[in-house]
């Protein structure tokens, strides 16, 4: 019997004025899976992520998050973005949104914010507890940077990194929030084939470490290599779901991408 999916989306709808960006979308992710969300540009994929992470409040539908091993589900609908992250859902952005005026290490340290608690007094007094917490933050951040291969650049300003490294830093930053579900929005965008290969290895490693992953991606080779299951969207609706081999030969999917029937 299948355990409760860690993420269950049912009937998710998002209207912007007269435009329906998401139309009764259903999606689920199980613990330990890598699930891909694909579809032509404008299908509503990033809008979907924004609904999940609290940037938009969906017009209708339900988003249920169930931490693995837990039986209690939390509704994410209407939660503020920082609360969503606290609950264990972290994301990266389609357009890189790093904190350019901070160092690489500090960007990752920020991710630890919701898992730590030193506040004004702690900052000013720097008592033993605070110093211990800071030490832990630094060590954990270094470990994460090592995983993505950026530890040697820790004290460099984030804005000085090359593009591929910046994308990896975004992932590192999201990992620092200690999520159990990681949302990656086009992590391979703009990467050359070698960088994409590195990314493939990294994402598989993150999955082995125990994180579940939901990613939006256009690079089909990467999607096919990584995914356990794929959901396909077009015009805000789910048009197909299944294992990579099924999706590859699904006529509806081909039509959505190429705009014509296979036989035509």
């Amino acid at each position: 019997m299948m355990a409760t999916p860690i993420l269950q989306i049912s009937g998710l709808t998002m209207d912007f004025g007269g435009i329906r960006a998401l139309n009764r979308l259903d999606l689920d992710v199980h613990a330990g899976e890598i699930v891909a969300l694909i579809g032509p540009n404008g299908a509503g994929k990033t809008t979907f992520f924004n609904c999940l992470t609290g940037i938009y409040t969906p017009t209708a539908g339900e988003i249920l998050l169930t931490p693995p091993g837990n039986s209690k589900s939390i509704s994410l609908k209407g939660l503020k973005p920082n609360h969503v992250t606290e609950k264990g859902l972290a994301r990266t952005f389609q357009n890189i949104r790093l904190f350019s005026q901070m160092t690489v290490l500090e960007n990752v340290m920020i991710g630890q914010h919701c898992r730590t608690k030193a506040f004004i007094l702690g900052a000013i007094l720097r008592n033993a507890a605070t110093r211990r917490e800071e030490r832990q933050i630094v060590e954990k951040s270094y470990a994460i940077l090592d995983k993505v291969g950026l530890a040697h650049l820790a004290n460099e300003f984030a804005r000085n990194l090359p593009y591929g490294a910046q994308r990896r830093l975004e992932i590192a930053r999201a990992l620092a929030t200690e999520p159990f579900l990681l949302l990656l929005d086009e992590p391979a965008a703009g990467m050359n084939p070698q960088e994409t290969q590195e990314l493939d290895r990294l994402i598989k490693e993150i999955s082995t470490d125990g994180h579940s992953i939901l990613l939006i991606e256009h690079d089909m080779k990467l999607v096919m290599s990584l995914s356990d299951r794929i959901f396909v969207m077009d015009y805000g609706k789910k048009i197909a779901q299944g294992k990579p081999a099924e999706i590859r030969s699904n006529p509806a999917v081909i039509k959505a991408y190429l705009g014509e029937d296979v036989d035509a």
Partner: protein, 409 residues
């Protein structure tokens, strides 16, 4: 020829400015005596001045575009300006601090009362600048109504002393606390606002508070203000005027040191990082689990706290306050200090305050042009050097383990 072209442009630009400024700069009418004075010489000065300034600006822009970006050292040593290098080296930094401390402590012995007083004022603006720096420089919230918190501190001392006979030291924490409270109250409505709207609303708040102080005479004694505010006491010892001035100076030195200490600690803390994340990218900041409302409110409150404290000091120093001391212009001056120094940079803000407050004193002949210079500095800094005099340096962290760049496959 490159230079001939630039000279032609400079000439045309100065002609334009002569035309532009003609009515206001050249013509002076006395409507009562019914005479017109034609100050043609001003046009000449204007033409010459603009000509030179234009060429200088073009020259510096040219120089900057020629400079090559310095390469980053393998070991990530902090490259950069002279000041950065001194600050990064702990031994040199400590020597500098000790020297400055000695100079500061010895200052009153070698200067007149007047000069000491001026220095106290400059130190007050250092603290104000550091306080606003938290709000504007670190959290990125353009607060144009900062002067309101300054007024809260000043008036709380004046009124609490007037009605309840409370002394300086008793009111000091109260003034700071009240100002912090106002900071939260003013912060709440602007939480969702975008940068420029936030600026205008805070400006509005500042003006509203000043206007209320001016018009609600039953509460604040209106435009005539409150006088006879007692100076800070020193265990009840009677001090001469000169003694009071020196006492206040040392008090300010103490406040400045404490403020620098606290702000420095805040900058490299979990809270400080949250502020900078907020400033850099509000959406990404929230995505990282930071509660943006709480972070903003704390920034407002802490920034306001310092303004309140210095407000109390201001009331005690000048022994007389009225609403005219708390105009938008004050907020603009403090903003100029932060902008000139470098948003988020403690050393920069200190420098900015000392330059903007002390320089007019030592260039007495040009003091008329003080406000003109403020305006010009704000524009010039934004256009030519938005990072301020001293740009931001972040702390470097080291791990116990050694990390190497990933090997190529």
């Amino acid at each position: 020829m490159f230079y001939l072209n630039e000279i032609k442009r400079a000439f045309l630009t100065s002609l334009w400015f002569v035309f532009l400024t003609f009515p206001i700069v050249v013509i002076k009418v006395d409507p009562i005596e019914r005479i017109v004075r034609w100050r043609w010489e001003n046009s000449l000065y204007m033409a010459g001045g603009i000509f030179v300034v234009y060429l200088l600006v073009k020259f510096f822009i040219h120089r900057k575009s020629q400079a090559v970006e310095p390469e980053v050292d393998r070991d990530n040593e902090v490259k950069g300006s002279f000041i950065h290098r001194i600050l990064a080296n702990p031994k040199q930094r400590n020597v500098l601090i000790v020297v400055l401390l000695f100079a500061a402590l010895a200052f009153p012995q070698f200067s007149s009362s007047y000069q000491t007083n001026v220095m106290s004022t400059a130190l007050m603006y250092v603290v104000l600048g550091l306080g606003l720096n938290i709000v504007v420089g670190m959290a990125g919230l353009l607060d144009l109504g900062y002067v309101a918190f300054y007024a809260v501190g000043a008036y709380s001392y004046a009124l609490l002393n007037h009605h309840f006979d409370l002394g300086f030291w008793a009111v000091l924490p109260i003034g700071g606390g009240l100002a912090a409270l106002f900071g939260i109250l003013l912060g709440f409505p602007v939480l969702r606002l975008r940068g420029d709207y936030l600026a205008i609303v805070t400006l509005g708040f500042g003006e509203i508070i000043r206007l209320i102080l001016e018009n609600w005479s039953e509460f604040s004694k209106g435009p005539s203000g409150i006088s006879n505010i007692p100076r800070p006491g020193l265990f009840g010892i009677e001090l001469s005027l000169k003694g009071e001035i020196i006492y206040l100076y040392y008090l300010m030195i103490l406040f400045v040191i404490v403020t620098i200490f606290i702000v420095n600690r805040l900058q490299d803390s979990r809270l400080g990082r949250a502020w900078i994340a907020l400033r850099e990218d509000e959406i990404a900041c929230q995505a990282m689990g930071i509660d943006k409302r709480k972070t903003k409110l704390v920034a407002f409150a802490l920034g306001a706290f310092w303004a309140g404290i210095i407000g109390v000091v201001f009331a005690a120093k000048t022994t007389f306050i009225n609403p005219a001391s708390f105009t938008f212009l004050e907020s603009a001056i403090i903003l100029a200090i932060v902008v000139l120094g470098g948003m988020g940079s403690i050393v920069g803000v200190i420098l900015g305050a000392l330059i903007l407050i002390l320089l007019p004193e030592y260039l007495r002949a040009l003091s008329e042009y003080r406000m003109l210079a403020f305006g010009a500095i704000l524009v010039a800094m934004m256009v030519f050097r938005p990072q301020g005099l001293i740009s931001n340096i972040r702390r470097t962290y080291h791990s116990d383990k050694k990390f190497h760049p990933p090997t190529q496959q």
